[in-house]
């Protein structure tokens, strides 16, 4: 009887582990399929797609920066179609008001002839919100997104209204149009998990885009994942193990972006005014965990953290005047940080 009970006790953890492995395999398969589906239409930008999927898994918001016509809006639209999430698009313009985003209370006549204040939700009440050309709206309007991005809730008329989960803001901005644009405030930039640069595609990819989009029919994308699946995967990401020495590595990377820190490299001390906030550590660890899941692993590696470091750190450093004068790119600064920071548990 006791032996039988022991066998049951032993078999339970094994069953849990098998279920876990199955869950990870399923999640990886679904996420890779999602990436494949997106790339049917958004061709040649695998790194961008991967970053967006990682951001989605890490429950973070993403800022996409790139020249016009590179398919940023298309990417977000295709993503919402593939994941079966509600999607809304807000085209930011200088005259856009905060209430246009969050919603407003309107006087509505009730059946008994009285007028009552009724809340009309704005486009922010969706799973995926595309904030298109976010730097064209005024800082006041941009700030309307702050609470939504951080707290996943908005406060209108003194009442706090939670947003539906999963909630995900994808903002795009165009680095070229300086006239009539308002650079995002640092507080808002910090709330973006990643800033992803969408580069110009290669000649081969351009040919593919031409062939793909000018034919009689466009490739159709199918829904490969439900909202509940995505929420499950997001939960799984947070269960991925991040060892203490890797947490320490993420913290050291963040500290190294501060010019006053003793371990910061020369380029940081010279060109950076302010370093990354503690949100960078969270972003590095969450991004690393999502990257690990996407690779089918249950643990985070140094490589995972280094892979997401550019996306996490590049928009969190405030550069000094000298950096602009000498044309120092943010990616070069992140490279300097990665090079100067010792790898975790480096043996003698």
């Amino acid at each position: 009887m006791q032996a039988a009970r022991d066998r049951v006790d032993d078999s339970q953890p094994q069953a849990d582990q098998q279920a876990l492995h199955k869950e990870v395999t399923t999640a990886r398969g679904a996420l890779l399929t999602l990436m494949d589906e997106i790339q049917k239409l958004f061709v040649g930008q695998e790194e961008v797609v991967r970053s967006v999927v990682i951001g989605l898994l890490a429950q973070g918001n993403i800022l996409l920066e790139g020249a016009p016509g590179l398919g940023k809006t298309l990417l977000v639209r295709v993503l919402s179609e593939c994941v079966s999430l509600s999607f809304s698009r807000i085209q930011f313009t200088p005259d856009l008001m905060p209430a246009d985003i969050t919603g407003t209370q309107a006087l509505v006549k009730t059946d008994n002839g009285h007028a009552d204040l009724v809340f009309r939700p704005g486009p922010i009440f969706a799973n995926i919100v595309l904030a298109d050309e976010i730097n064209r709206a005024t800082p006041k309007t941009q700030s309307a997104l702050l609470e939504a991005m951080q707290e996943h809730a908005v406060t209108v008329g003194g009442e706090r209204r939670p947003l539906q989960e999963p909630f995900f803001v994808l903002a795009t901005q165009n680095p070229l149009e300086m006239e009539g644009t308002y650079p995002l405030p640092e507080a808002q930039l910090d709330r973006f998990l990643f800033k992803v640069d969408v580069g110009f595609p290669s000649l081969k990819v351009l040919r593919e885009i031409g062939e793909l989009t000018t034919g009689a029919t466009l490739p159709e994308v199918t829904t490969v994942m439900s909202a509940s699946d995505l929420v499950g995967f997001q939960g799984l990401v947070r269960r991925i193990v991040c060892a203490p020495h890797l947490t320490d590595y993420a913290a050291r990377l963040t500290v190294a972006t501060h010019p006053e820190s003793p371990g910061s490299p020369e380029v940081i001390r010279r060109f950076v005014k302010h370093g990354a906030s503690p949100r960078a550590v969270q972003a590095l660890m969450l991004g690393g965990r999502a990257e690990a899941l996407l690779s089918g692993r249950l643990w985070v590696s140094t490589e995972d953290i280094r892979k997401v470091a550019h996306h996490v750190l590049r928009h969190r450093m405030i550069l000094g005047f000298e950096a602009e004068l000498e044309g120092i790119t943010r990616d070069a600064l992140v490279d300097g940080v990665l090079e100067a920071t010792a790898l975790p548990s480096k043996p003698h």
Partner: protein
């Protein structure tokens, strides 16, 4: 009870630290020996003993403390060992993470934590860290090392203190040229060179091994072995190094060649699957291209099999990356089989294989896994078919190199032994000569010694002095005389004294025998060459032993007359003779310098 992962890592780190301990023990021994040498020099220089004792204690403690600190700095714990193994095997921090979970320092979901630990344990059972470094040293190695180091210290100190010439301060006073000449002389004395045939054979093997390394570049261990072999052979064929170093390098090359030959099991391969699995895509494909372009179907088939495995296992992104890597690699198609030896593929076959690989790469880039696998399978079958029809060229290269290395090593050993034997013989002859000189009790032996050395340089001048030597060492006289082309005769004079006369071929100074201050000429005088030198320079001598001979009196001035020989000529003859002797004989370095200075001082 310790858990399996921690136990495994503890075992690895302990054995790694053991190696560090051995290194430290030997380093400490080296420091102690150096300190002892310095103390001995100080003792010779007259530093008071009580001061030396204090310094010795201080140095000993400093050495031990330094060794302890050095070891402490270099030893590694479990976490560092886990990180080392993670990096070496590309495990992406699995062991470090699992160890943190196992130690309870990471806050994790218990199910996930257990899964990570289980995976790490399973993987660590299959790993062999010895393949990436000298990890596993037996438990008793530090004891043996410490004992050996202690013995070395005792031996050096005892041997050094009992040697009369130790410490020789003269080395420091040598000029650069003298040191170079000394080194060259020592090297020539004990350094028989490797024959030209062996050097040529090894160079040829080296070229073939370089090409083999390119084909095996995907297997890290095989590549490192090939590098070590090449390094050893290169040091043998290079211009520097002595015979002992060459033998050492050849032994190392032989050992590594045997190790390389044993790899890959019994299927004739030099690479193994574990090694290939750790290679990057680029390394794998570069090695494959090299194998095809060098016509090695064996290696190419193995590499294609690994590529096919990766193609089957990769996701879409990785597949595209793999395809891009294949397409990026430039195929080297050569129509001729030259310069590669024993190709198993013709030029056309190599071209076809390269094209097939490129088309597989295109399929991979298009994310068509099935198409890529089909291309790779066909390529693999063709390569295997070509391989079956021929001998394995990689193994041939290794076997030939092994044979040549063994031959060269044996040849070098034989030459070194011969050289040592001949040196030993020369040394014993010199000792016998020295013994003979000591037996000679003539008060003018210094003068005679100089004369003998001069006559070695100028055999025609040396009749009289050789005669004297012959008188002194009658047992060796005839042999030495005949070697110099001289003849000797012994006879009795009318007054009862014995006389020995020596003569030989005519030289610049003349073979002289004259009446001098001696008695009347001997009856065999007519056999000798004409006498040209002033008679006053030749005298018949009477030794205390009762022997008699002829002596050339060079220092005519001592007799109140001017010498017929010019001073410069005498100086040149003597100085060159003395320097020549100083170079050839085992004379302490400082004494050599004295001889040189003496002749510099008396130069007009």
């Amino acid at each position: 009870m310790e858990r399996p992962l921690r136990k495994q890592l503890a075992r690895w780190s302990q054995s790694y630290n053991r190696r560090r301990l051995v290194e430290t023990a030997f380093s400490c021994a080296g420091w102690l020996v150096t300190s002892a040498a310095w103390l001995a020099v100080s003792f010779e220089a007259g530093v008071p003993p009580h001061l030396l004792v204090s310094i010795a204690i201080g140095l000993g403690l400093a050495c031990l403390a330094g060794a302890g600190w050095w070891y402490w700095r270099r030893r590694i714990d479990r976490l560092q060992m886990a990180a080392k193994v993670d990096r070496a095997f590309g495990l992406k921090d699995l062991l470090t993470t699992a160890l943190a979970v196992d130690n309870g320092t990471a806050r994790v979901d218990p199910v996930v934590g257990t899964a990570v630990i289980d995976q790490a344990v399973q993987l660590s059972d299959r790993l062999d860290p010895v393949s990436i470094g000298p990890f596993c040293w037996p438990k008793w190695s530090p004891l043996i090392a410490s004992a050996s180091a202690s013995l070395a210290i005792i031996f050096v100190v005892l041997a050094g203190s009992s040697h009369p010439m130790w410490p020789p301060p003269a080395i420091a006073s040598m000029t650069g040229d003298e040191e170079a000449s000394e080194a060259s002389r020592s090297a020539q004395a004990t350094d028989p060179p490797l024959s030209q045939e062996s050097v040529e054979a090894l160079r040829w093997d080296l070229e073939r091994l370089e090409r083999l390394r390119e084909r095996m570049a995907a297997d890290r261990v095989a590549r490192e072995l090939a590098d070590r072999i090449s390094g050893s052979i290169r040091s043998v064929t290079g211009p520097t190094g002595n015979a002992s170093q060459r033998i050492g390098a050849l032994s190392a090359a032989e050992r590594h060649l045997q190790e390389l030959s044993r790899r890959g099991g019994g299927d004739g391969s030099l690479m193994d699957e574990g090694g290939l699995a750790l290679a990057s895509h680029e390394e794998l494909i570069e090695a494959l291209r090299q194998s095809i372009s060098q016509g090695d179907a064996f290696s190419a088939a193995e590499l294609v099999a690994e590529l096919a495995r990766r193609t089957a296992d990769s996701d879409r992104g990785e597949l595209a990356g793999l395809g891009a890597a294949v397409l990026r690699s430039e195929p080297e198609i050569t129509e001729s089989v030259e310069p590669y030896d024993n190709p198993t593929m013709s030029g056309e076959e190599r071209q076809a294989a390269n094209q097939q690989l490129t088309s597989a790469g295109r399929e991979m880039s298009a994310a068509n896994r099935g198409g890529a696998l089909s291309e790779l399978t066909r390529l693999m079958e063709q390569l295997e078919q070509q391989a079956d029809q021929n001998a394995n060229p990689s193994r041939q290269v290794v076997e030939q190199a092994l044979y040549d290395v063994r031959q060269a090593r044996e040849e070098q050993l034989h030459a070194l032994n011969q050289s040592r034997e001949s040196r030993q013989q020369a040394l014993s002859q010199a000792q016998q000569r020295s013994l003979g000189e000591r037996r000679n009790t003539n008060p003018r032996s210094g003068q005679m010694g100089m004369d003998r050395q001069q006559e070695r340089n100028r055999p025609a001048d040396s009749c009289a002095t050789e005669g004297q030597q012959g008188v002194a060492c009658s047992g060796q006289q005839s042999g030495e005389s005949s070697r110099l082309g001289l003849q000797a005769r012994q006879g009795d004079r009318s007054d009862g004294r014995q006389v020995m006369e020596i003569w030989g071929p005519w030289g610049t100074g003349g073979v002289n025998r004259g009446p001098g201050q001696g008695p009347t000429p001997r009856p065999w005088e007519g056999l000798l060459p004409p006498f040209e030198m002033p008679s006053a320079q030749w005298i018949e001598s009477q030794w205390e032993t009762g022997h008699q001979g002829l002596i050339e009196m060079i220092e005519g001035a001592s007799h109140g007359e001017r010498s017929a020989l010019r001073y410069q000529e005498v100086l040149f003859n003597y100085s060159s003779l003395a320097e020549s002797v100083a170079r050839q004989e085992e004379i302490p370095l400082t004494r050599r310098r004295y001889i040189q200075r003496y002749f510099e001082a008396i130069r007009p």
